[in-house]
């Protein structure tokens, strides 16, 4: 297991390198420059040139890359142009917010998605199944930013149940965190709940059609026992394999959800960085996020290996 984990981590390194190259490439193509954003519409061209110099934007592409990697290997992701703070510091401050939001979303996804899927499969072709699948289908079809807007109007303004947005650090005020994070987490999770419910249902149906389920029934096992002991353990395996993907989507979907709900997460940070042309921030931030995703994927794979004895025991 350890060897496997290490190997996976080693494989992640070239991917990160590629990621950074791609993001560097994209950013070089971006027109507009951070100096213009900072200086505002009334700055004179001369003032812009000077500002660009002070920001180090006048250097050649190659030297910017060299400087970037030089610093990267020293663990330095550079300074954000707009925020004026070390990228690493900002990213480290922000990512827990997004990650906790993504994990909350993931929890919602797993709990709701799994139970909806299992119930639908057990009531296959009955009205509960139809209702559950209709819900799941709507979940995957509704744009999440739209859902977010509609939820704000409904839950905050009309019902007054939940705050309109913002972020409360979990350790300061868990209840407040919970309230503030619920709508963003839900609007992020909606689609994934739908997808997971559908995946769970179809996997469950498939598993229920397997010979070993018939064997279990032939042993006289009761229905709950068949579902919980024999079916679920097998259903969880494919479900776990998609968790990494779900997490990636949840983290990345946060760009827009964080904007709408004013959550100061990494999605909003990077979205703004891209729109504000904050190259070091984008570059460093993307590498960081990619690294987090790769690590999460490794965790998921290890979890998968742990769940499936066919892979575990070798």
């Amino acid at each position: 297991m350890l060897a496997y984990t290490l190997r996976r981590i080693a494989q992640a390194v070239p991917i990160l390198l590629l990621v950074s190259l791609i993001s560097f490439g994209i950013m070089q193509l971006v027109p507009g420059d951070p100096a213009a954003v900072l200086a505002g519409p009334n700055a004179t061209p001369d003032e812009l040139i000077k500002l660009r110099q002070t920001l180090g934007l006048d250097k050649s592409l190659l030297s910017q890359i060299m400087i970037f990697y030089g610093n990267l290997f020293q663990g330095d992701l550079g300074y954000s142009i707009i925020l004026g703070e070390p990228v690493l510091k900002v990213v480290l401050e922000r990512s827990p917010i997004s990650i906790s939001l993504a994990l909350y979303s993931l929890a919602l996804t797993v709990i709701l998605g799994l139970s909806i899927g299992v119930i639908a499969a057990m009531k296959h072709n009955r009205w509960i199944d139809q209702a559950a699948m209709t819900f799941a289908l709507i979940g995957v079809s509704v744009p999440n930013f739209w859902l977010g807007l509609v939820m704000i109007v409904l839950f905050s303004v009309h019902l007054g149940w939940l705050p309109t947005g913002g972020y409360v650090p979990f350790f300061e005020d868990p209840a407040g965190w919970f309230l503030a994070a619920t709508m963003p987490a839900l609007s992020l999770a909606m689609m994934q709940i739908g997808l997971l419910a559908r995946l769970t249902r179809s996997t469950m149906l498939e598993v229920l059609g397997q010979d070993y389920i018939r064997t279990a029934r032939a042993k006289g096992a009761s229905e709950p026992r068949v579902i919980i002991k024999h079916a679920m353990s097998n259903v969880l395996i494919p479900v776990v394999t998609v968790l990494g993907m779900i997490l990636s989507v949840l983290l990345s979907g946060s760009v827009i959800v964080e904007t709408i709900f004013a959550v100061p997460g990494i999605g909003a940070l990077l979205g703004n960085a891209i729109l504000g042309r904050d190259y070091p921030m984008i570059q460093g931030g993307l590498i960081f996020v990619a690294a987090v995703l790769l690590i999460l994927n490794i965790v998921v794979d290890v979890l998968y290996a742990w769940l499936d004895p066919r892979v575990r025991v070798q």
Partner: protein, 297 residues
Amino acid sequence: MSHLEISNNPSALTSLRRFLGGRRVRRLIRHRSFMIGLWLCLFVTAIAIFAPIISAVDPNKMAIRSRFQPPSLEFLLGTDNLGRDLFSRVAWGARLSLAIGLGVVLLNAVFGVLLGALAGYFRRLDGILMRLSDALMAFPSVLLAIGIAAAMGASAMTAVISLAVVYIPRTARILRASVLQVNELEFVNAARAAGAGDFHILRRHILPNCMAPLVVQLSFVFAYAILSEAVLSFLGLGAAPTDPSWGIMISEGRSYIREAPWMTIIPGMAIAITVLGLNLLGDGLRDVLDPRVKMEH
């Protein structure tokens, strides 16, 4: 039986049947949610095609005096902050959304197939291509699309390209998996034993048999492209705003969500209905063509 009737009549249906297999067409036609999806998609497509005819007014025609009109007989779906007719705008928005979705799907079909087939069939290319796709997939997809869109400047073309870049690695992976699977089937060996070359085998044997998962995947890519285009437009990175796009409409309407909720809700529903239709279509195709369990992203 029905086979003979159909094969005597060389129509479009025959070629579709050839592609899908006759039994499958019958099963699709009987698949309730597939048919609902098909009708929804046809409905949206019809609206897109006939937008100039069914929308009485120019979607960009402003009438400041009649702004913020709620849906009524005069303004079927109401008007927006500039007094533009939302019905026309939604109808023309269908054009744009479908065109962008189609563009992404076409690029996916071409490059996803190319890369997936190369990686799956020529194992020597596999490592490189898959690492590249790993790297592209390591990016959070929305950020990647935003980055590319920002780099290229907002336009429909940009939206198509950036979303294609996001989805092609995913399509390629699915195709690669099918190629690997089909490559194991005996008829490929049979062709090889007959002396067929790689190109022939790919074209005649492997690709046709990877069509089912591909078609299914593309139907989902279509749906996601429409959703993601809305996200990009919402952020101001989508289509050129003279063409009414649903995402732009939601984005414009959000300032008025309390007072003129229809400005947001109607384009939102348009997206939801289209995506719903495509999802149903895809589900049906998957049930019938590609019963393997899979989760698409």
